[in-house]
């Protein structure tokens, strides 16, 4: 380190580094959010000077563990030590004073301000920059040391994603961080940039810092990490094993688990009839989106085709492309043997229904009542139930049956939809989408956030729909769910879809490998 942004904390951290080889030790950490257990005794131990990979599926508890370390919330139980000192950070500021810096996946920068303004704003408390010039020279020195080329007077929202990430890294380092948490730093970067980012992580560790690399990518682990910790369902399953000693298969098995048997449905007699087909569909690349790349699939009558994969690999984009909110740049979407109409309304008329992952973004109208939510698609359809005079009693009357059949609890017909719990909101969407005839159903994470009973109810509805002859495309980030319900399964990774395989011919380890490495 040639740059000195040192203040007392950094000095203390450096002294500590010499005295305690272990930078971070977390033992038996537990954390619950209401009924949901996020961490059920997680361990992590990171040494100075190493890149430590933290691996796990969505919801395995990686983020919860790191948020506790970075002071975003407190642990319910367990021990957290930094440089040998037990700590319990009350707020992120306390954690960053102890030399912990987190580089979030979604950057925490102020878009309309320039790079310099962002850095001065963020480091006002830690770096003692009296003048603009002092700040500029400190920043330039640090940037030069890391090999960054950054224009300081450009607004942050005009930078590319990788440049923004560099600003974020500068921000954390100038703040005096000695323990760096990088949350999927390569997820937003192109291949070539990703390699540079991993080299940077290596370099920062070689300088004597501790780098925790949260990642889904096995390549990142083998290329960069010294040791690896794998989490599953809130527990640590591999605790700091040397990265070189583990094969990709072992890591994948550790991540997705192998002990639960695959639940197979009775010999699914899938019709040969194709109800929907996607041919080489690509979607435009835009910021924060994962574009689909030459994605092809065939959905048969009466089957549930499971699309497995980690979140953020193109799932929402796939759903939006199918329902017509996102126009493909190339490729065809074919429904019932004909090219699908462009307008979402026309696709709905053609028998397409969908259940989105975000229930209030694409699913429901929060300020409308249950009855109104149920009535909206019926009233906008081309033919049936189109009427001019819409009375409350008419809407209530047609809603009551659905509320009873779908056991939508905690609501009468006149309740606003936003007051419903997650499970009941999901049931309301199902009640609405299952009204009338449909032949194609696309669902995305249908049981996310639901309790066991509600999840079972929703899953039974999906099986019913398939049994009635609809083609069900189930996009899910939960591998267990995919294995339990689908008759065939394909894996979505970086916007590419693997070949769909009958469920009998797949095993968890193979799927885990596809999920992590792509086809």
């Amino acid at each position: 380190m040639t740059v000195s942004t040192t203040d007392r904390t950094t000095m203390a951290a450096e002294d500590a580094a010499a005295a305690f080889p272990v930078a971070v030790r977390m033992l038996g950490v537990t954390k619950s959010f209401g009924d949901r257990v996020a961490l059920a005794g997680a361990d992590l131990s990171v040494a100075w000077g190493e890149v430590h990979a933290l691996l796990g599926e969505n919801g395995a508890g990686k983020s919860s563990l790191m948020n506790i370390l970075a002071g975003f919330y407190g642990a319910d139980g367990g021990i957290v030590e930094v440089s040998g000192q037990p700590v319990a950070f009350a707020e992120p500021r306390a954690a960053s004073a102890a030399g912990i810096g987190m580089i979030h996946q979604h950057f925490k920068l102020v878009g309309p301000l320039t790079v310099l303004e962002n850095l001065r704003l963020a480091c006002a408390a830690t770096a003692d920059w009296r003048t603009r010039d002092a700040a500029v020279s400190a920043i330039n020195a640090m940037a030069a040391d890391l090999g960054f080329v950054l224009p300081l007077d450009v607004r942050v929202d005009q930078l590319s994603v990788s440049e923004q990430q560099k600003v974020e890294i500068l921000k954390v380092l100038l703040g005096g961080a000695r323990i760096l948490i990088m949350d999927e730093p390569t997820a937003v970067l192109a291949e070539s940039e990703a390699a540079g980012m991993l080299q940077l992580a290596r370099r920062l560790a070689d300088d004597g810092r501790a780098v925790i690399l949260i990642t889904h990518k096995l390549r990142d682990v083998s290329a960069t990490a010294d040791r690896v910790t794998v989490m599953r369902a809130g527990r640590t399953v591999i605790d700091g094993a040397p990265a070189q000693g583990l094969s990709a298969g072992e890591l994948a098995r550790a991540m997705v688990g192998g002990e639960t048997a695959v639940v197979r449905r009775g010999a699914a007699s899938v019709s040969a009839k194709v109800v929907m087909e996607l041919k080489d569909v690509s979607t435009p690349a835009a910021e924060h989106d994962v574009p689909l790349r030459d994605l092809s699939l065939r959905l048969h009558v009466g089957e549930i085709l499971g699309i497995a994969g980690l979140g953020g690999n193109g799932q929402s984009e796939l759903l939006e492309a199918i329902i017509g909110l996102r126009t493909p740049t190339s490729g065809d979407i074919i429904m019932h043997g004909e090219s699908a109409p462009l307008a979402p309304a026309a696709r709905r008329e053609a028998g397409l229904r969908f259940v989105p992952a975000d229930r209030f973004h694409l699913g429901l109208f929060g300020s409308l009542t249950l009855a109104e939510n149920l009535a909206v698609p019926a009233l906008s359809a081309a033919r049936p139930e189109k009427r001019w005079w819409v009375t409350r009693s008419w809407m209530r009357g047609r809603a009551e049956g659905s509320i009873r059949d779908y056991e939508i609890a905690g609501g009468v017909a006149d309740t606003q939809a936003r007051l419903l719990s997650g499970g009941n909101a999901q049931k309301l969407i199902l009640a609405r989408e299952f009204e009338g005839d449909f032949s194609i159903l696309v669902v995305h994470s249908p049981v996310r956030g639901l309790d066991v009973r509600a999840a079972a109810a929703v899953q039974n509805r999906l099986l019913e729909a398939a049994a009635r002859g609809a083609g069900v495309l189930m996009i899910s980030e939960d591998l267990d769910e995919v294995l339990a319900l689908s008759s065939r399964v394909a894996v979505l990774s970086h916007g590419r879809l693997s070949e769909a395989m009958p469920i009998e011919q797949t095993d968890r380890a193979e799927l885990g490998r596809l999920i992590l490495e792509g086809a």
Binding site: A90, I323, G324, L325, P344, A345, R348, E349, F354, P356, F360, H361, L362, G363, L364, F365, G366, S367, L368, E372, A375, V376, P377, L379, S380, A381, K386, R387, W388, W389, V390, T391, Q416, L419
Partner: protein, 368 residues
């Protein structure tokens, strides 16, 4: 941190009872009137004359009522136009332009003697509605097709309509008899009749019919429900097959037509010709009234009456106390501010709790 013995805690409300919404609206208006009263007293209006000015002069005698109701007609119509658009989150800042276009439409029918005399007035009404609908429709099409921000387009179209009217008044429509920049006067069958003995004209019925129609439209029609959905979430609406573009265009055209009717009501009911002063100073009041009435047609009707009353009171204040015209605008702004501020009672449950002394340890920790 604070040395106060009590703390205010604001917690967001999940469900808002109807009576509370109404009560805060009334509370906001009363508080705003109190502020206005203080302001007027500060400007030298005797306190015991205030009741006289506000209540007796505005609602207590025929001249005041006459003036208030006549003013209210056009205010109801232009505010309804803004309110209809607000319901789908379309910002109609162009009621003046739409009003001018309505007035031009009506005047054109009169000027060119379109149709026989007994069809003249219905044709004028249609032309006025069409003119307004066209002017707001242009902005809606620009929004749908070109993603042009309607705040800018509707605002600028005001000037286009105004300048077009000026061009006509100084050009081919100029009154040939005296060469003033006004159109020739309307024939008797082209004028809205007055109520016998009043200046108030039958335009009141237009305002009432439009209010009832809009109330039905918002509350009981398919269109009303679907536009509620569109206002809440455009993306979800599109995904569920709601014709978002069509609803936007229809709402805009309807709102423009309603503004256009205000132009008809002023030319055919008050001025009896097209003048230079047909469509001035409506933009701010229309938005204020639409907001005061919570974009609800019945609420808008009542708010428009109240604001018209405020204007009448303002006229009297101007005459008797030499207060400037801006005083009325200031009072209007007071009402708007207090009503907006009282919204906090609708959104949050406010509780006053006794503050506990902060634990000393926490303070020490922070210092370290």
């Amino acid at each position: 941190m604070s040395a106060l013995p009590y703390r205010l805690v604001l917690s967001p409300r999940l469900a808002v009872p109807r009576w509370l919404t109404a009560a805060t609206l009334v509370g906001g208006i009363l508080f705003g009137l109190l502020c206005c009263a203080i302001l007027l007293i500060a400007f030298g209006v005797p306190a015991n004359d205030l009741g006289n000015e506000f209540i007796l002069y505005v609602f207590g005698n025929k001249a005041g009522l006459d003036q208030t109701f006549t003013r209210a007609i056009s205010l109801v119509l232009v505010s309804m136009s803004v309110a209809l658009c607000l319901r789908i989150r379309f910002w109609n800042i162009g009621v003046e332009g739409q009003l001018w276009m309505g007035a031009l439409g009506a005047t054109a029918v009169s000027f060119y003697h379109v149709g026989p005399w007994f069809l003249r007035m219905p044709l004028m009404i249609l032309a006025a509605a069409a003119g307004g609908a066209l002017w707001c429709g242009i902005a809606a099409v620009a929004k749908i097709r070109l993603r042009a921000d309607e705040v800018i387009t509707t605002l600028l179209l005001n000037y286009v309509a105004y300048l077009l009217a000026q061009d006509l008044l100084y050009g081919i429509w100029r009154n040939p008899s005296d060469s003033f920049p006004v159109s020739p006067p309307f024939a008797s069958y082209e004028r809205l009749p007055d109520f016998p003995g009043w200046h108030l004209h039958y335009g009141l019925f237009i305002a009432l019919i439009v209010t009832v129609f809009c109330w039905w439209l918002c509350r009981y029609s398919r269109f009303g429900l679907l536009s509620k959905a569109v206002a809440e979430n455009r993306t979800a609406s599109r995904a569920l097959g709601i014709p978002v573009a069509r609803i936007t265009l229809m709402t805009a055209c309807l709102a423009g037509a309603v503004s256009g009717l205000a132009g008809f009501s002023i030319t055919a009911g008050e001025e009896h010709r097209l003048t230079q002063f047909v469509g001035n100073d409506y933009i701010f009041p229309s938005i204020a009234i639409a907001y005061l009435g919570r974009a609800n047609p019945v609420g808008v009707f009542i708010a428009a009456l109240a604001v018209a009353g405020l204007y009448t009171a303002g006229d009297s204040l101007k005459a008797f106390y030499q207060l400037p015209n801006t005083m009325v605008v200031t009072m209007e702004a007071f009402l708007l501010l207090t009503v907006a501020a009282f919204d906090v009672f609708v959104r949050y449950r406010i509780t006053l709790i006794k503050a506990r002394p902060k634990p000393v340890a926490a303070v020490g920790e922070r210092a370290a």
